[in-house]
Symmetry: C2
Subunit: 233 residues, 2 copies
DNA sequence: AATATCATTATGTCTATACATAAGAGGATA
DNA sequence: TATCCTCTTATGTATAGACATAATGATATT
């Protein structure tokens, strides 16, 4: 028997996506209404609604009340970039992870940092410098500032065994962040810690983190020469 | 009157998120069932379901049939990285965009490319090299290979006025891709085109694109010295 | 003790119905 | 022509009820 199973929202979603990919509906085209699609597929409008909502979330289609649903003109491609702990990055390569604290110092936020984190004048910060190793090879140099006002308990953490990232993940697990990526030449300090020649190109990632609009931390991570970051969409 | 508006799924979502952030429910904790939450909020179970589904999509909670809903132990942080056209990157900086084709050549895929794109031996590719300028300053050098079998029409496109990225977006608007980022030293060619000293650190992004499991294109984009890429989550 | 069976339970999904809301279309008015 | 109004329409959301499904835990069997 060709007794076919009932149509679910995933079926609708996939068929609609396929039609868009096959140019049955081209960029900018108006799709049938939910009602019409529901009739075509023999399902409830709510089912079509969920299917189309998912496609809209993915940026495949644009929806507007009264106007209807259109195939997105310029599909907003956005890559998902998994933010993982350095420990995990290292262990994913089947390498042995080692962490070492270089320096721990309480200080007043320098001007550039106060500006970066939007801190008041004279705000207290904890400045940490640390190294991450993969099989005892330098993997990443970490330069971090933590807003003490946002995480008062940080003054009691010594960070000799647990890295600041892991510690913060436990204290402030849900936060927003802004990232920047760049290529920079190794300066004296970086070339020293990362065991490379001066001016070697290094991949650098900076991250500013907030929790409920309050600045928490700014970190600059410099990776060993040749490091590649991966992502997909 | 304290006549409060009816509870919607967004309210439920936000209240649950707030409780998680406030550690009312900590990492790994079991949340009340949908039924219980629906009773608490005075709404239908479907409403709670949608609220929790959104939080699950964001990686805030984990849900499993019969077991229930738990606060995610290691919230998967993932940054959203908008993939934009080079033209847009330039114009977003209020700079004048200019594109120039450097070379266009049909060839058989070299071994490393066949391997990268998973192409059969002797597959035909179109090799393009191009420059993107911002206010007539070198902005990005683009080195691209397109799988002719996947996009036969590409042999008729001359790419003198429209860049390959924009052209492909029109032809293959929906695709998957894998990205890698790295810092590399400028070689002779890059230092020439990007007007910088040899060995200058350059931010480089590589992208491999598929459409329905068929490899479409591989591109290596090298940015001018000092370029920063931004993202957030 | 190990394995198969079955009831239970929380989530996953679908449906029909209802009402809310944004926004386009047309007409009336100034 | 420009502005305001109402009507209409497609999407957005809520609901009660139903059944599906995965996973757990208990029970019975080997």
């Amino acid at each position: 028997m060709t007794e076919r199973a009932k149509i679910g929202f995933q079926d609708v979603r996939d068929v609609v996506l396929e039609r868009i990919q096959n140019r049955v509906w081209s960029q900018g085209d108006l799709l049938p209404t939910e009602q019409e699609l529901a009739e075509e597929f023999g399902c409830a409008r709510a089912t079509v609604n969920r299917a189309l909502r998912e496609l809209a979330d993915r940026g495949i289609i644009d929806r507007k009340r009264k106007s209807g649903t259109r195939v997105a003109v310029s599909p907003v491609k956005q890559a998902k970039l998994e933010i993982v702990l350095t420990r995990q990055l290292v262990e994913d390569r089947n390498a042995n992870y080692r962490y070492a604290l270089v320096e721990r110092k309480e200080e007043t936020a320098p001007g550039w940092l106060a500006s970066q984190l939007d801190l008041p004048m004279g705000a207290k910060v904890l400045h940490l410098r640390a190294m991450h190793y993969a099989d005892n090879q330098p993997f990443q140099y970490e330069d971090r500032w933590i807003n003490i006002a946002a995480v008062p308990k940080v003054v009691d953490a010594d960070f000799t065994t647990v890295g600041p990232n892991e510690w913060l993940l436990g204290e402030v697990p849900f936060s927003n962040a802004e990232l920047t990526f760049a290529a920079v030449p190794a300066d004296d300090e970086l070339s020293d810690y990362l065991a490379c020649a001066k001016a070697t190109p290094l991949f650098q990632m900076e991250r500013t983190t907030w929790f409920r609009s309050q600045p928490v931390t700014f970190v600059r991570m410099s990776f060993h020469p040749g490091y590649q970051m991966r992502s997909q969409y």
